[in-house]
């Protein structure tokens, strides 16, 4: 079977500096894939490339073996790639419900005319979107805050909501940018369980950037290690643990010497 | 909430002060004029003349309507020299304040929309100063409007006068025209002058425009200079002319300036200075060939406001004169009756000369004058009979 997501020899330059160079990532469908690496290794840049916020300078990105490099971000999201952000990006002045609904809207097919003239289809779809969004919130036990402002949620719930919002797109691939950021060991353990549950319950493939090695090692089937924008290793947790270049990179040695 | 309170406060205040009209028997006459906006000097003159007239009539007891004599109650509306506001003010005067007739607006851009309102409401309107023929003509039918009159000549006549003067007196064979293309009266005056001047054998060597609000005309003037005309026709309002003239002179243009009645405000002399010295323009009357009536008016006006009345003032005064004569002749405050009497006035001796409405039209038959700006005042040069 072919990979769900292939980042094929991608390079991204900002003016002079090269954030990502000849990067390879291959995510099998159904896996949980970890992306690790020291700060500034270009992990988030990689996510921005996959989700279309940046366009690769060179190389290609394939989702379900169809090239998505250079598509507009909105389109890529609809193709089934959801994401969360390192620093949470909810619509803080909108209600929790609306945050989910806006994502869910991409499933609704009524036209602008249906909306403006309030044709039956419009009402149907809207009701359905509210219903299903509330359902989603229930499964994330956020339902009782549904009509509060997203910005007023506690930090943990905001993280959850961001994931719920991404899942409202009905994605096959979910990109999580440091989901455990700012959590203590206990919370991280819960998160591990939570992510397992998400993976099982929504049948999504997870790709996560994470610093908590413990979480990554527990959760991930495969791991890619980035350093200075290069893939320096890819493999199972065991292989990665044993990989000298990874250790070198983490101990601050220059990772790309050989 | 605070702001909401502020709003409600000002609103209710507006309402209270807005509607508090006393109603002792009187003849309500509306004045719809340009107090604010592009040409406040015009509005001011108009208002001054109106107030002077009403003061004098009321001092003498009022107007004789049938057997009763009633004072005039002057209702003033400011149209801001804008078309839509002119229409709204006309509506207000005619339908809300229920005036027997409306004087003004002065500028064509306001007079045309206001005239539609007056015509529709069957209420007499006399524009003192609007020379544009669309003011009294219904554009869709081409027939004259029934209830709309004016106290001045039309642009068609003015163009003939100016073209003749240019050819015969100034002896100019070539002329340039430079005007504000986004302003009502100047537009028509420019076009008509071009037509008549060329018909009478002159040659228009350049026809340049600017837009309202421009202050730098050097580009167009340089262009005009390169065509080397003997005279330049400037149908522009009093606050543009001085700038054009000064810039033309500093570009070394020596041609003679000729202007339309849009020039005629004392302001032009204040602002223009040396640059417009010696220029000619067409006007509705001259203080120097004034009849006894005019003499008296000028004296009163000067006494009250400390300045010479310009033609807008004189024309407004005449417009009121015409209206009052119509009211006394008709002996009734009914709008229809006033209209009938006004159209029938055989011959009215006004400040701006004798006038008489052409049969079935609101345009009076009256003469124009050519003035020259000399030593800081308007000097009479010639009369032009229709």
């Amino acid at each position: 079977m072919s990979a769900l997501l292939e980042v094929d020899n991608v390079t991204k330059r900002f003016g002079g500096l090269c954030a990502i160079s000849n990067c390879h990532v291959r995510v099998e469908s159904g896996h949980t894939h970890g992306i690790i690496g020291p700060n500034g290794a270009g992990k988030t840049t990689l996510f921005n490339l996959i989700t279309g916020i940046y366009k690769p300078t060179e190389g290609d990105i394939r989702f379900r073996s169809e090239s998505i490099a250079g598509l507009r971000p909105g389109r890529i999201a609809i193709k089934g790639i959801g994401r969360t952000f390192q620093n949470i990006r909810l619509l803080n002045n909108q209600t929790v419900l609306d945050n989910v609904r806006i994502a869910y809207d991409s499933q609704l097919h009524y036209s602008a005319l249906d909306a403006m003239l309030r044709l039956p289809r419009f009402g149907r779809d809207e009701k359905q979107s509210i219903g299903e969004s509330l359902e989603l919130l229930k499964t994330f036990s956020l339902a009782d805050h549904a009509h509060g402002l997203a910005g007023e949620l506690p930090y943990g719930s905001q993280r959850k909501l961001e994931i719920a919002r991404a899942l409202a797109l009905k994605p096959d691939l979910l990109l999580l940018d440091e989901p455990a950021a700012g959590m203590n060991t206990g919370e991280t353990a819960d998160l591990t369980e939570f992510l397992r549950w998400v993976k099982g319950h929504f049948k999504v493939t997870l790709v996560l950037i994470e610093h908590h090695m413990h979480l990554v090692m527990n959760l991930c089937d495969r791991i890619t290690v980035l350093d200075f924008g290069k893939t320096i290793a890819e493999g199972t947790p065991e292989e990665i643990r044993a990989n000298p270049r990874v250790i070198a990179a983490y101990l601050g040695g220059t990772g790309d010497e050989d | 909430m605070k702001s909401i309170l502020i709003l409600l406060g000002s609103l209710s205040l507006a309402v209270l002060t807005g509607c508090g009209k006393s109603s002792e028997p009187s003849v309500k006459i509306g004045l719809n004029t340009e107090l604010t906006g592009e040409m406040p000097a015009v509005g001011a003159s108009s208002q001054n003349a109106a107030k002077l007239f009403v003061e004098q009539i009321n001092a003498a007891g009022g107007i004789k309507v049938g057997e009763v004599t009633l004072p005039i109650n002057l209702v003033i509306g400011d149209n801001g020299a804008k078309a839509d506001q002119a229409a709204a003010v006309a509506q207000r005067l005619i339908t809300k304040d229920e005036v027997v007739a409306m004087i003004g607006p002065d500028a064509s851009v306001c007079a045309i929309p206001a005239s539609d309102i007056a015509e529709a409401a069957k209420c007499v309107m006399i524009s003192p100063w609007s020379t544009n023929h669309d003011t009294t003509l219904d554009p869709s039918t081409g027939k004259p409007k029934e209830y709309v009159f004016r106290a001045c000549f039309t642009d068609t006549f003015q163009a003939q006068v100016l073209a003749k003067f240019a050819l015969n007196n100034i002896k100019a064979k070539t002329a340039a025209v430079f005007y504000d293309s986004s302003s009502e009266a100047p537009n028509q005056q420019a076009a008509l002058f071009k037509k008549t001047f060329e018909n009478d054998g002159g040659q228009i060597v350049s026809f340049e425009t600017y837009t309202t609000g421009d202050k730098d005309f050097s580009a167009q003037l340089t262009k005009i200079k390169s065509t080397n005309p003997e005279m330049i026709f400037l149908p522009a309002y009093y606050n543009d002319v001085p700038l054009i003239a000064q810039q033309a002179r500093s570009l070394g243009i020596t041609a003679q300036f000729v202007g339309s009645d849009a020039w005629s405000s004392p302001e032009i002399i204040k602002l223009g200075g040396a640059a417009i010295e010696g220029s000619y323009f067409c006007n509705h009357y001259s203080t120097q060939i004034a009849t006894p009536i005019a003499q008296k008016f000028m004296a009163d006006y000067k006494a009250k406001y400390g300045q010479e009345p310009d033609d807008v003032a004189a024309l407004t005064y005449d417009a009121f004169g015409l209206l009052v004569e119509a009211i006394t002749d008709g002996g009734s405050l009914d709008r229809q009756a006033i209209r009938g009497a006004l159209a029938k006035i055989p011959k009215y001796d006004g400040i701006t000369g004798t006038m008489q409405f052409q049969p079935g039209s609101g345009d009076p038959i009256k003469s124009a004058v050519i003035l020259q700006i000399k030593g800081g005042e308007f000097v009479w040069v010639a009369n032009a009979q229709p």
Partner: protein, 316 residues
């Protein structure tokens, strides 16, 4: 042939004069935008006040100033005008804009719009009629060149420049160079550039943001006032409404040059002047606005952030 050269030369002098004034005003817009990313819609009316301030000062100070040579008195008045308008601009910022620093940006813009309207209507209440500007010095016309007109006997083709035009062009050039130096070489300039680069982290670096912003308004408005005065002298019939059109045009100039960039504003100003004159030279003058603004629009389409502006750095 030669007469055509003279014609074009004359037109370029005209363009230079207009352009220098547009540039001076555009500077005010661009500076404020640089530090606050806010469009100061009151700027056009501060410009207008510059002309009125000059008129009043001249009438007040003439008895004092007759003793000086005209050029000196001109400079004195210019400086006074710049100070007055500058202070006014800064105080408007203090009273009307600063309280809205954390409100949505647009409400600051609308407040600016309101301030502009207020200034304009108050001036109208005081000066309902157009005023004529006093002459600060005799405006002699120099005939640089003269030749007989090729196809009209007796007439002549001339190339003229007035003392006023020379003064205006020189003064504005001097001011622009001075400003450019201020921005690039002084601590204030660095701080200002820092703020416009990243307003969030700068306070952490111990830069007194409020003072820098006030200074920016002071300078920007001062330049606007100077422009107004020069404008008033060049076109000596001044009216309270004169700020609207010129203001908006200068704003366009600033954006075409690349809003936020000082040199861009200057470039944009001169470009606008040139384009307007060129449109008249090449086409019927009634097409002037149509052509010049279509051209500017085209420039913006091909260089979306202006000629010298750079795209804002968007953080993800």
């Amino acid at each position: 042939m030669l007469d055509h050269v003279l014609y074009l030369a004359q037109q370029s002098i005209n363009a230079l004069q207009q352009g220098s004034i547009y540039a001076l005003i555009a500077l005010g817009y661009t500076m404020v935008y640089g530090v606050l990313t806010m469009i100061n819609f009151a700027h056009g009316d501060l410009f207008m006040l510059g002309a009125f301030a000059c008129m009043l000062l001249a009438s007040v100070l003439t008895p004092v100033l007759v003793v000086f040579p005209p050029l000196l008195s001109f400079i004195v008045i210019l400086l006074l005008v710049m100070i007055i308008i500058g202070v006014l601009g800064a105080s408007i910022e203090r009273v009307a804009y600063r309280p809205l620093r954390n409100a949505p940006r647009v409400s600051a813009i609308i407040t600016a719009l309101g301030c502009g309207l207020l200034i304009q209507s108050l001036t109208l209440v005081i000066f309902p009629y157009s005023k004529s500007m006093p002459k600060l010095f005799t405006n002699t016309t120099f005939e640089l060149f003269e030749m007989p007109h090729p196809d009209a006997a007796g007439a002549s083709v001339t190339l003229t420049i007035t003392a006023l035009q020379i003064v205006i062009i020189c003064v504005s050039l001097i001011l622009m160079v001075a400003l450019d130096f201020l921005i690039r070489k002084t601590r204030y300039g660095m701080a200002m550039r820092a703020i416009s680069f990243d307003s969030r982290t700068v306070p952490l670096m111990g830069i007194p943001v409020d003072r820098i912003i006030s200074t920016t308004f002071l300078i920007g408005a001062g330049l606007g006032g100077a422009a107004g005065m020069l404008y008033g002298l060049a076109y000596p019939v001044i009216a309270p409404s004169m700020g609207i059109l010129v203001g908006w045009k200068a704003f366009i100039a600033a954006v075409v040059g690349g809003i936020g960039s000082i040199r861009g504003a200057v470039l944009g100003g001169f470009l606008l002047g040139a384009v307007e004159v060129l449109a008249v030279v090449m086409f019927d003058s009634s097409y002037r606005d149509l052509i010049s603004y279509s051209l500017l629009l085209l420039i913006l389409i091909f260089k979306p952030y202006g000629l010298l502006g750079q795209a804002p750095n968007q953080k993800v």
